[in-house]
């Protein structure tokens, strides 16, 4: 998923976040106190906006964070901080769906009396139209999240005539919607919780709606949006809270989001009390100052993400597994962490699944003493493997993005490759082009630096998406299996694990841990580190809560 789309989980911050969650859930007396926090305006800043406002099209964490309180799906992730934030709860549906027909049929009963911000009541017509619209607007995940719905094939082939006949069946009188899948999908509720499955009014145009706000059912609505200047978000007048977990009524009356300036200026503005929060990460060179000048205003949380360096398993020298393993042994993961800003901003990692992610079990094969965690590089082993492979002296080009961290890592990998006896070079490309460039096999990229952020908390979202045979499309700019890794045995095991998840999630997670190990043994990538999210808030903001899925829950916060 998109670089900036970064659901995450609290690790060592669990304690802090849990305390806040506990406080929020405490006693009616506290609830009364919360009312005192109602009102005020939150002022958010960001260097740039992120394009279209259409929730069926936009695929960036910046706007997904806003969709959390603007739109609803049939189900949604719980809007609380802490580990509970990855739980799915009923949202526009009155309860979680009844699953029948061996996990292929989901029946939802809609809540009654829910209104869109234009005052119109939400009905089954809107639900059916919204699912069709995902395909009609050529939604980015139409072919990857929602392709399992009956009739999705035709919709992908001819989007304009999409009906999903047989896939989405509505009973308007009873207020129920039935979704039929081609095969059981244990991750289907996660996919329905994504903003791409938001329920919009049936009359919404079947084209990308661009900068014009579409009415939603959330606690707030967009009053105006100019991508080059600002967005103004106000309370949805037609909203009344139906579930605090799914869509809490927010504290603030208005949210003003301005776009422009620099990260540097945003930090100053927050310290001066001219702004309340910045979307972009504060510049690394200001962090030391911030940690002493304003320690209470900084919030850190590990993300469900990884920085990694895919090695093209179809191009020399990385078509030899020993070379890939050698590089994994040779890199100093502590050095990589310092390149990203130090242990406060990242933690070393040598496996695919991020810490505390479903299916994650601490394991590290590529270290001095293989075991649970990484300790130090094993250069002797690496040299020996390179020697055995007979690839010494070959040329390797590392393709990096044009930001400081990516370039720094590229230069570091270049030095490691030189130590191992290769002739290494770094090629830097604009970050927005690099991501599609490294995916296309025609560009013959051997080694590159990239990131992946989870869409939803399921191991397959990392392993199957990044290293599954289905994600490898030679000659296409959209081929997310950048390493071109397709191992029949592992692919079958991943498919089996997905299926197993439908009946026995615990056993499936155990199997994912083993698959994680098996993938790392084949070493199609260099895991670099797990990044952390830094939120800098002004002193007037209270009730900070961090959700795995939406990051800082803006609507849960209050201002003094």
């Amino acid at each position: 998923m998109i670089t900036k789309l970064t659901p995450a989980r609290p690790g060592r911050w669990a304690a802090t976040v849990a305390t806040i969650a506990l406080l929020a859930g405490l006693a009616p007396g506290f609830a009364a106190a919360q009312d005192a926090h109602r009102g005020g305006t939150l002022r958010l800043v960001s260097v740039s906006s992120q394009g279209t406002l259409d929730p069926h099209v936009n695929y960036t964490s910046q706007f997904w964070q806003l969709y959390a309180f603007l739109y609803d799906g049939l189900v949604g992730f719980k809007k609380v901080g802490g580990p509970e934030s990855k739980e799915v709860v009923a949202d526009l549906a009155a309860a979680l769906p009844e699953v029948s027909n061996d996990g292929k049929t989901y029946t939802f009963t809609l809540r009654k009396g829910v209104k869109f911000s234009n005052g119109k009541e939400m009905t089954t017509d809107d639900v059916v139209a919204s699912f069709q619209r995902i395909f009609k607007v050529l939604g980015p995940t139409a072919g990857t999240f929602y392709n399992g719905i009956v009739g999705a094939d035709q919709c992908l082939a001819a989007p304009a005539d999409c009906t999903l006949a047989g896939g989405i069946v509505a009973d308007k009188a009873a207020g129920t919607v039935t979704i039929n899948l081609v095969a059981p999908d244990p991750e289907f509720l996660f996919k329905l919780s994504a903003p791409h499955a938001s329920i919009l009014p049936a009359e919404t145009t079947a084209k990308d709606n661009g900068n014009a706000p579409i009415p939603g059912t959330g606690a707030y609505m967009v009053k105006s949006y100019d991508p080059n200047n600002s967005m103004v978000i106000v309370r949805n007048p037609a909203f009344s809270e139906w579930s605090k977990d799914a869509q809490p009524e927010g504290h603030v009356d208005e949210i003003d989001y301005t776009f422009g300036g620099t990260e540097e200026a945003a930090v100053n503005a927050i310290l001066n009390g001219q702004a309340d929060w910045m979307f972009d990460q504060p510049p690394a060179d200001r962090l030391a100052e911030l940690s002493t000048a304003a320690p209470d205003q900084i919030h850190l949380a590990p993300l469900s993400a990884w920085w990694y360096a895919p090695m093209n398993v179809n191009l020399a020298p990385f078509n030899d597994v020993r070379v890939r393993q050698a590089l994994n042994y040779a890199i100093d993961r502590d050095a990589l962490v310092s390149l990203f800003g130090g242990p406060a901003l990242a933690q070393p990692v040598c496996q695919v699944l991020p810490p505390e992610f479903p299916g994650h079990v601490d394991q590290c094969q590529y270290t001095l003493d293989p075991g649970d965690s990484w300790s130090a590089p094993d250069m002797d082993k690496a040299m020996q493997l390179v020697e055995e492979s007979g690839t010494k002296g070959e040329k390797v080009t590392i393709v990096t993005e044009d930001n400081a961290a990516s370039r720094g890592i590229g230069t570091y990998l270049q030095s490691v490759l030189s130590d191992l006896g290769y002739e290494a070079a770094v090629q830097t490309i604009s970050g927005d082009i690099q991501f599609t460039y490294i995916q296309n096999t025609n560009n013959k990229v051997q080694l590159s630096i990239s990131q992946w952020y989870a869409d939803y908390p399921a191991a397959s979202n990392f392993l199957n998406v990044l290293f599954g045979c289905d994600s490898f499309h030679p000659g296409s700019d959209a081929s997310i299996n950048i390493a071109g890794f397709c191992d029949k045995g592992i692919d079958d095991r991943m498919k089996a694990a997905i299926a197993l998840g439908a009946t026995d999630p615990a056993a499936a997670d155990a199997e994912w841990a083993k698959i994680d190990g098996a993938v790392m043994e084949a070493a199609p990538a260099l895991p670099l580190f797990t990044p952390k999210q830094v939120d800098l808030l002004s002193t007037r903001v209270g009730n900070y809560a961090f959700s795995n899925q939406y990051h800082w829950l803006i609507a849960n916060a209050w201002v003094q």
């Binding site: 998923m1 998109i2 789309l5 740039s48 906006s49 992120q50 394009g51 279209t52 406002l53 259409d54 099209v57 695929y59 050529l138 980015p140 995940t141 139409a142 072919g143 990857t144 392709n147 992908l156 082939a157 990308d208 709606n209 661009g210 900068n211 014009a212 100019d226 991508p227 080059n228 200047n229 301005t258 776009f259 422009g260 300036g261 620099t262 540097e264 200026a265 100053n268 503005a269 310290l271 001066n272 001219q274 702004a275 490309i429 604009s430 927005d432 082009i433 690099q434 991501f435 599609t436 460039y437 296309n440 560009n443 998406v465 994600s471 499309h473 296409s476 700019d477 959209a478 997310i480």
Partner: protein
């Protein structure tokens, strides 16, 4: 006169067509430029990428795409971005233009006034203390990069001394439309104006000083002095008037280029979302429609400013009128 204007217009069209074709070709020659996969989103299915490519007309021959883009930009006005899907290019550009115009016009007034004063005073006191001080400061102004000056100004006014009596009046970074509040518009632009004009004051001051000193060697200056004119009259009416021509020509160039987007560094540092920042953002994400519109907009202003300057020169220098 009509013929002059028509030939000017014809030249402008030729320049703009040439620039747009070159921009277009460079874009499609860039590796990895194909926007279809980027528009479709991360991990999009191949069917989706194909559908998007077709929807945006990216599967049509390149000259057809060029024609369609020009038609959408100039005839129907509904050209939309490749990156910020649904964002209409022409209204976005027209919304950003007043910001850049306010910044550059204000700075231009400052730098022409102060630049001229610097040059004239320095020339009048040639090789004496005021000359040396002014030329030293000018050299510094020319040598300091504008983004650094801007960040330093911000450091002082927004961070380190923000809470003191000297700078507590400085509003937060950003633009306030003139129509909303002229006073706040003015306050918000004071430091951006100073920052942007600093370099040009130095540059123009040095140029004018050299020009005046050279002009002092001319015969007509000697004649003027022989007639018994005062030193001040010789300096202002005769020497400066002749020496300012190259400065005005350069002003036309600089003004056009800055309005067209070259003030990007000042805009970004001060959070002014003008044409320069728009162009910079479009370049960063390879947003072809926005790049095309911004480039054509910039070339229009450069050509226009040059035409205006030619007229101005005729007004200033009677010798040009006789030809």
């Amino acid at each position: 006169m009509l013929a002059v204007i028509l030939s000017r217009l014809a030249r402008m069209v030729v320049v703009m067509v040439g620039i747009s074709v070159i921009t277009f070709l460079i874009f499609f020659a860039t590796p990895g430029a194909d926007p279809a996969a980027r528009i479709a989103g991360r991990n999009a299915a191949p069917e989706t990428v194909t559908a998007v490519r077709h929807d945006f007309g990216l599967d049509r021959p390149i000259w057809v795409q060029y024609g369609v883009m020009m038609r959408k930009m100039f005839v129907t006005g509904d050209l939309t971005s490749f990156v910020n899907r649904g964002q209409k290019i022409v209204p976005t550009l027209t919304a950003a233009a007043p910001v850049t115009l306010s910044l550059v016009a204000g700075a231009a007034v400052l730098w022409m006034a102060l630049g001229a004063a610097t040059g004239i005073i320095a020339a009048a006191f040639k090789d004496r203390l005021p000359d040396k001080i002014l030329m030293g400061v000018s050299m510094m102004a020319v040598a300091m990069p504008v983004f650094w000056v801007g960040e330093m100004v911000n450091l002082v006014t927004q961070s380190r001394l923000h809470d003191t009596w000297a700078f507590s009046w400085v509003p937060p970074l950003g633009y306030v439309p003139l129509s909303e509040s002229p006073a706040r518009w003015f306050l918000a632009l004071i430091f951006p104006w100073i920052t942007l004009s600093f370099l040009y004051i130095g540059l123009y001051g040095r140029m004018l000083r050299t020009g005046i000193i050279e002009t002092y060697q001319e015969d007509y200056i000697r004649t003027a002095r022989a007639k018994g004119l005062t030193a001040r009259r010789v300096l202002l009416k005769h020497a400066t008037r002749a020496a300012i021509i190259p400065v005005v020509i350069m002003f036309g160039m600089d003004f056009g280029v800055l309005v067209g987007g070259a003030a990007v560094l000042t805009e970004v540092v001060f959070g002014l979302n003008g044409v320069g920042r728009l162009t910079y953002q479009a370049l960063k994400v390879l947003d072809l429609p926005m790049i095309m519109a911004a480039v054509l907009y910039a070339s229009f202003f450069v050509v226009l400013a040059n035409a205006v300057v030619d007229l101005l020169c005729i007004l200033i220098d009677p010798r040009l009128r006789r030809k």
